[in-house]
Symmetry: C2
Subunit: 284 residues, 2 copies
């Protein structure tokens, strides 16, 4: 089977939904021009990353933005992991949701961010997605036509358990629309992509918004693609840009065969959540 | 409570058990002279890292090497995570076992390596611990008198689930006697220590044998101590040496409070191992 090329669209995001959709469309076109078969957009690429804006910009699945994204996938004949937008359900709940489309524009999956980013520091820094968002309740895996892929969103990246669920459902590639900030980005972004890929023997592709120093939430940028061996295959800086890299699925199979980490897991031990046992030592 | 200083003894290992025990004793003395409260020795510091040697060097718990190590802990008044030795049980099984002693020389825990390193590459490289070893079946956590610590051994480092078990039993520090090689060491050693520490918000301390280019198994060395923020607090090169670093338990508590990753886990989602669901998209 053909190795797919992954394209990341590290676009600038502003407060104008129409303009953001246009930027996404231009980025997708550029990525496809460079050979991309699967394109990933950033987290909350449609609105500023402010919790109070999420209800204002929220739309139902199948709404205008969803239709526009479906159309972009179809026109460009590309699999589209459409970043995230605030999704409004029938009960008034809002989710941080990634919609996924095949190259005909059909919806083939969606992921609602499972782990909401809630921090409240003694020093005063405060960010609570849960002020306006509801969390999702499942891992997301879909067939790209090239390989099986999973998607998770930003803070989800910090939770190894979610990656085990994806890989157990067949994921060979995990795409992450994300937006780490200027504290967590330099400290942890690269490290987490490399290790999740290594532990789970999958390719990883993370797409962030370009950095805007004047914005309310300053994105680290640095959209990245890593290998199942923990290598960096490509990485952008903080500016707008498009990154396209082929992923070698044969290499993934060789790594899984030669260092069979996934087979060496010990679910019998992990399931054993008994109390800390008493240890009886011999007399010294 | 006083912050402990962790000492790593990156010693050379040869085929002479007595000489190896002497090297360990000198290293422990040096680490304690430099202020260490908890000392860690390398994996299989008592014999060459060759599967056929394990039965030859194996000893029961409470045997001569165990007694010697207990005595080193007592004489130096130090908590000792005594690397690993091949442990023989009453049924003839051999384990890759880490014994742990308090500063009075009492045995306070032991860890039998849970994940055995078995690789058999098409190109010919072959290493199977399971040829002579039996795996352990549980995670190991103990009280150091300074903090709660866990221990795992080398290849165990590659399995995030084992670290979740340790942290759920209270681990604030995880000590790893290990011996990565010249392929996996440069590629993965640092990455894994930094990320396991970051994900689980624990300090990590990994102790390897010094590199011996003429030996049967060439250790990467690079004994390392990392923080709950994923930082490297100290690291040796490939030569013999002792590394001592204080770990700041107050910092650990601040990180757990400010970025409460452990509380943000979603066991309700992780427990849900159902089949991949069908996704129903709206019409494009």
């Amino acid at each position: 089977m053909k190795n797919p090329r992954i394209g990341l669209v590290q676009m600038s995001v502003c407060a104008d939904k129409e303009k953001n959709l246009q930027s996404a469309e231009h980025g997708i076109y550029e990525a496809v021009s460079k050979g991309a078969d699967i394109v990933v957009l950033p987290e909350m690429f449609i609105c500023p990353y402010i919790t109070s804006d999420f209800p204002v910009f929220a739309e139902p699945e199948g709404g205008l933005s969803w239709q526009a994204l479906s159309s972009m996938a179809r026109k460009n004949n590309v699999v589209l992991v459409a970043g995230t937008i605030p999704e409004l359900d029938g009960e008034g709940n809002i989710y941080n949701t990634c919609f996924i489309f095949d190259a005909m524009g059909n919806g083939i999956g969606k992921h609602r961010k499972v782990h909401l980013f809630d921090i409240s520091l003694s020093g005063g820094q405060y960010f609570k997605e849960s002020d306006t968002l509801t969390p999702g309740n499942s891992a997301t895996v879909f067939d790209t036509g090239f390989c099986t892929a999973g998607t998770a969103v930003c803070y989800d990246l910090r939770f190894p358990e979610l990656f085990r669920l994806m890989v157990d459902h067949g994921a060979e590639l995990v795409t992450i629309p994300g937006a780490f900030n200027m504290t967590t980005g330099p400290a942890h972004w690269e490290l987490l992509f490399r290790t999740r890929g290594l532990d789970n023997q999958v390719f990883m592709a993370g797409c962030a918004p370009a950095r805007d120093e004047s914005g309310p939430y300053i994105s680290y940028g640095n959209s990245i693609i890593t290998s199942p061996w923990g290598e960096i295959l490509g990485r952008l800086d903080e500016k707008e840009g498009v990154l396209v890299r082929e992923i070698d699925l044969g290499k993934l199979m060789r790594i899984r065969e030669e260092l069979p980490l996934l087979k060496h897991r010990r679910p019998d031990v992990y399931a054993c959540r008994r109390e800390r046992g008493e240890y009886q030592a011999p007399p010294p």
